[in-house]
Symmetry: C2
DNA sequence: ACCTGAACACCGTTCAAGT
DNA sequence: ACCTGAACACCGTTCAAGT
């Protein structure tokens, strides 16, 4: 048959060198974006990495551990995004809160499957301590900003954790509604997601005003 | 071996009579409570109903349709619970809102898998109109109560849908945090879920005050 | 009209075996 | 130390066949 142009398997890069772990995380993320949360598969991630179906078990005890690693990277990315949003409002913690709210909702709208995975039942934080740590960094950023609002007299005195959880519930709730496409169409038609996030922030801040 | 006491398959009841559909919904709900959202299986629901693995396809086009039916029953139950909670506060719509908030969070805490299924990616409302109708009944109840708050001068004038979505985001967000076990332990230790739901309602109502 | 049995293409996971 | 190949017990779904 001579030198037929036959499709070759993807170049293997340099696995066998210790970076299969991150290649699997990347492969799972690719599947997540392309196929949704239900399309993420251990075998599929292995295929993406150009490796046999049993290879992942050298790096993760089970599927859930791989998903937890993907979720962890998601939280790191989310916290980075929140930081960036807040940084532009250094002197005004209330404005920083609003910017973070919009950033969270934008993050969820742009990568719904990722956001769902980060919060969903596929990974139970209890079983994955490093995922818990990544998630609590978001909480910390939030409560820190709440404390700044105290100092700036934009929020009445009180337990920052308790006040923060109301804020987080509201924004996370909106993000989840967006991700699950559960916002009633009339609301969606009348307002952009940014407007909704801004409005929700305004209401909660007014409710917490001194 | 004489009359050995051998375990018999569950009595078949009277399927073949048109109630296999509801038997499958019940079987799936049983699995949902017992094994969690990831343990719900079409084959398992068929087993629960004492029927072959292919039988469900006479009644549901696919697994997602069965899950949507389970989710639909969940929304009906939730709306009933909300109604009951609100009914005891006929003259005070603000108190009714708070009672509904607590009822929603209690519902989610008591049946986390069910609540997750109702909102999660396993069933996309868009593909299941009757699920959408069941879900929007909850929204309707909420906006109706918001309108009563307008009349009672407990909430400032404004679009009930927009105000309702903030309230719903907050309570749904809290419910989802509970279901996903994402509330920080310090918050949980200091307050009961009822207290958290009450506090969140108070904050949002204050933010929407005239 | 409603259900069964067998089959297909997929999973997650395990385990001996290779280098 | 790291990976492969084959196997096991499960899925969702289809389809001929039974009554």
């Amino acid at each position: 048959m001579g030198r037929a142009v036959r499709p070759r398997p993807r170049p293997r890069a340099t696995y066998h060198h210790g970076n299969l772990r991150s290649a699997l995380i990347e492969g799972a993320s690719t599947l997540l974006e392309r196929e949704g949360p239900l399309g993420v598969t251990l075998r599929g991630a292995a295929r993406q990495a150009g490796v046999s179906q049993a290879a992942p078990y050298r790096h993760f005890p089970n599927k859930s551990a791989l998903l937890a690693a993907v979720a962890e990277a998601g939280f790191e990315s989310l916290v980075r995004t929140m930081h960036l949003a807040a940084r532009r409002h250094r002197g005004s913690p209330a404005a920083a809160l609003e910017a973070m709210a919009k950033a969270i909702v934008r993050f969820a709208a742009e990568q719904p499957s990722r956001y769902r995975l980060m919060c969903g039942p596929a990974v139970r934080g209890r079983d994955h301590p490093s995922l818990l740590r990544a998630a609590s960094a978001a909480w910390d950023l939030l409560t820190t900003t709440i404390r700044e609002c105290h100092r700036a007299k934009r929020i009445r005195p009180g337990d920052p954790a308790q006040q923060g959880f109301v804020f987080w519930s509201t924004i996370h709730g909106l993000a989840v509604l967006v991700v699950d496409e559960q916002l009633p169409p009339p609301v969606l038609r009348a307002h952009s997601l940014e407007q909704l996030a801004g409005y929700a922030t305004t209401v909660v801040l007014a409710g917490l005003a001194p």
